[in-house]
Symmetry: C2
Subunit: 504 residues, 2 copies
């Protein structure tokens, strides 16, 4: 997710724009190339538009093609839809009325939050009605005692975070896209991000969800309770279902205390086995203050220093590991981190290292990790993957890919959230070709599948990755998902062509 942050910084430079365009030129922009056919949905008529105007007001129904341009294209500009209509409700009641009408008229709907998703899940494919949550941006309550935030789905993460800071709280998730992404969208994609290692996933921190179902019924699971064992936890079906089961309209989420102290250590080690040993030491010595464990290999460092003129603050090593701590007492945290560093250096686990306690140095170290994605775009055509793997297997995939693609590709690099078992595998070549593509895929998917990994750790499947679900999920699971989809949305009007694969 830091990729987004890195890319937006980088977008200012012309060279990126050129490179990104070059990459995109390899990537098809319409539904045709993805071999998808329009479902048997109704077509929007002028009567429908009148009804939508009655529901939300004339100025909140958008039909001008140029005004819809940004809503028809995903953030990465890899897919383009053909919607001619966006409706912008203000309340749950309005969402309910819109969906009730769409369901009766069999009109397909694409729910859209900040449209910052990376798998084309938040843009229409054909002429779906775009249901935007951008006007649903009210903070309903913040309880400083329980730490619970309740808000509408269209609240922007960064805005909510600012309000939370006034109460000494922070959101339990942090993403590069925080300036644009909506909390409702975060829930719909089960966003991971930078704080997952410390505060856990949204499965645990989201306490309540209000969602509107395909027929307009409001499913009110907007509890603010930390414990509730009265029946099946229906909100879990809304978390991570990418708008295919319901439209999230409001949510409540448990927010931790804002840490008083943050520190970053950067270490160099000679093998991935030692990377794992450091992680283990960090868990033991830093325990409750550990907030990030990131890693990158020497190929990453070579790319980031070469392409972006950045400086490696320590000696050249085969692997690098970034450790962040966040705690409530600065001197305690520094003492713990100091002792941890001493231990790993004395035991010869780390070969070199540096500790940053001031903001500037921390930013410089984080920059090496954050700008990795950007650096790889400079290296040629870039195949990017977001895999989840058992931690001890994470780097084996990089090694296997390097071996498999010897002489075919330029760089094969591995970096990512070691603490979460989330590997960003990047493969570059001078120029895209179908042959290289076939050498890379399905090899990387098959390898990941064989080692019980996930082909999407945190980005979801959306439109672009849905056909790969079976690399991670069994036939029984996919069949059950399709039955659940049928139960919640019998006509299939909610975010069609997303998440669920065909041919099952």
């Amino acid at each position: 997710m830091r990729l987004l942050q890195a890319l937006s910084k980088f977008a200012a430079s012309k060279s990126l724009i050129r490179n990104v365009r070059a990459a995109f030129s390899q990537t098809p922009l319409t539904s045709d190339t993805y071999k998808v056919e329009r479902g048997n949905y109704g077509e929007i008529a002028s009567e429908d538009i009148s009804i939508f105007k009655d529901i939300v007001g004339c100025s909140h129904v958008v039909t001008d093609p140029s005004d819809l341009e940004g809503n028809n294209i995903d953030w990465l500009k890899t897919v383009r839809g053909q919607s001619k209509l966006m409706v912008k409700p203000k309340s749950t009641k309005e969402v309910s009325e819109i969906l009730k009408h769409c369901n009766e008229r069999n009109l397909a709907v694409c729910p859209q939050g900040g449209n910052t998703g990376l798998v084309g899940g938040s843009v229409p494919v054909f002429d779906e009605v775009i249901l935007s949550t951008q006007r649903m941006n009210k903070i309903i309550s913040i309880d400083p005692i329980s730490g619970v935030l309740v808000c509408q789905a269209g609240c922007i993460l960064e805005t909510a975070n600012k309000d939370l800071a006034g109460h000494g709280l922070i959101a339990p998730l942090d993403l590069g896209a925080k300036g644009s992404c909506h909390l409702g969208g975060n829930i719909s994609t089960n966003a991971g991000g930078l704080r997952l290692l410390r505060y856990g996933s949204l499965r645990g921190t989201v306490l309540g969800v209000e969602a509107v179902l395909s027929d307009g019924a409001v499913l009110d699971c907007l509890s603010t309770l930390r414990k509730d064992n009265t029946g099946y936890d229906l909100k879990q079906l809304m978390i991570g279902s990418e708008g295919t089961l319901g439209v999230v309209t409001a949510l409540s989420i448990l927010c931790p205390q804002k840490p008083a102290s943050v520190n970053v250590a950067f270490l160099g080690v000679e093998s991935f086995e030692k990377v794992l040993k450091i992680q283990q030491c960090a868990r033991k010595d830093l325990g409750e203050i550990l907030s990030a464990v990131e890693f990158m290999d020497s190929e990453c460092m070579r790319n980031v220093t070469h392409h972006l003129n950045m400086t490696n603050p320590i000696a050249d090593c085969p692997f690098y590991i970034l450790i962040e701590t966040s705690g409530s007492n600065a001197s305690h945290d520094e003492e713990k981190l100091g002792r941890f560093l001493e231990e790993v250096m004395d035991a010869g686990i780390a070969d070199d290292g540096t500790l940053a306690t001031d903001y500037t140095k921390m930013e410089a170290i984080w920059g090496l990790r954050e700008r990795m994605a950007e650096a790889m775009l400079h290296d040629g055509y870039n195949f990017k993957y977001d895999f989840s793997l058992p931690t001890d297997k994470m780097y084996d995939l990089v090694r296997a890919s390097r071996e498999h693609l010897k002489g075919i590709c330029k760089s094969v690099v591995g970096y990512g959230h070691l603490g979460d078992g989330n590997l960003h595998l990047n493969i570059t070549c001078e120029k895209y070709s179908r042959d290289i593509h076939s050498a890379v895929e399905p090899f990387v998917y098959e390898w990941t599948s064989r080692h019980k990994g996930s082909v999407s750790a945190e980005h979801g499947l959306g439109f672009k990755k849905r056909q790969y679900m079976a690399y991670t999920k069994s036939k029984e699971e996919i069949m059950m998902m399709k039955k659940i989809k049928q139960l919640f949305d019998p006509k299939g009007i909610l975010n069609p062509y997303k998440m669920l694969p065909d041919n099952f």
Copy 2:
């Protein structure tokens, strides 16, 4: 859940046994009194028994009524089933074969783990086949790097915890029943317990579940990945569904580091408002090391000191609050706790307090809280409730009940997991009567419902509480749950008469 621990200590004394019997004598023991009729299931024939013997081996099919006695009665001895058959499989494959046969023959099944549940969810009601997981007790793997434990459903929590300790880990949950409860049962009931404040609920810590569905199909969601966004999270439907959607056969769970240091503070304050202020200070000052925030009122203290001859270690106060810390560095933890105590004493928020850093003193303080449930059994006939409420409303229910029941009841006391918003409301009277019962209920349920609380915070609904679901869940939610039940278990053979209410 500490209730269980407290009760088992207490069970040694004759006076408890007398009291418990007195209480139980008020409580009906068979399905008749709960006005439940046997579903239209098949009856077990000798051919079925032969088939079960073929699947699991002769010695693992139990038909002797005296051997089944303990499996037909719940731990609290409040409900009694009439099962004539228990099958004890060793593997997922055997569970699958058993369920396949039961589904074909339309035989009802009651999955049973350690049978420590408090709502009659784990015992049969009529002649269901008891499917026991007691032989499925294999630890499959413990990964010290990722902290992930994978095991069969029948692993006992305490046994798993001992194995984890060898790797410097602890289970993310702790219950009084740990010596008997199965991890599969913990997942099926979404057990809360003592570590929830610190490590979060099972919704976040359980990474994978393998379950067998009603028709024998194996739903393999036994991932060990921390992140996986490839489709709906089906395992969440298994967590907390009390065996009504599938039988959990294996699981993987993320385990935290074992803390090196534990401390307990006990404070007295003059109002519930100050209790809340202390909680807020604790969150701020103790941050990442805070592991429990429990409270009790002066009526609780009066009962526990009077009935159990225990000593209040501080001055008499209207409210008491217990704060526990767990961390990786003893001197840091003690310093944080010392400063927090100084702050709340100096600001006049707490009137008196004591700090325990050694095991004996900590046990004595925890004892006051843990033995509350036991103390109340000495006070007369005891109505016990396990409510979840917004933290700032928690004590209002105790006040409202006291006002409402003035002159009718003996004691109305409130204590519980303040940090989780979990109130244990206890009401006692000299002798049970229907009139008193009608004064207490539905008053307490209605009040909880009006304030958006939950009528079951952590125990689930099981057999005894299922008709109260609508006090917490909407009609739409209940209807959706029934549809999901129908989808997963069309014949309704899995744990019938449990969790889902009639009349919806």
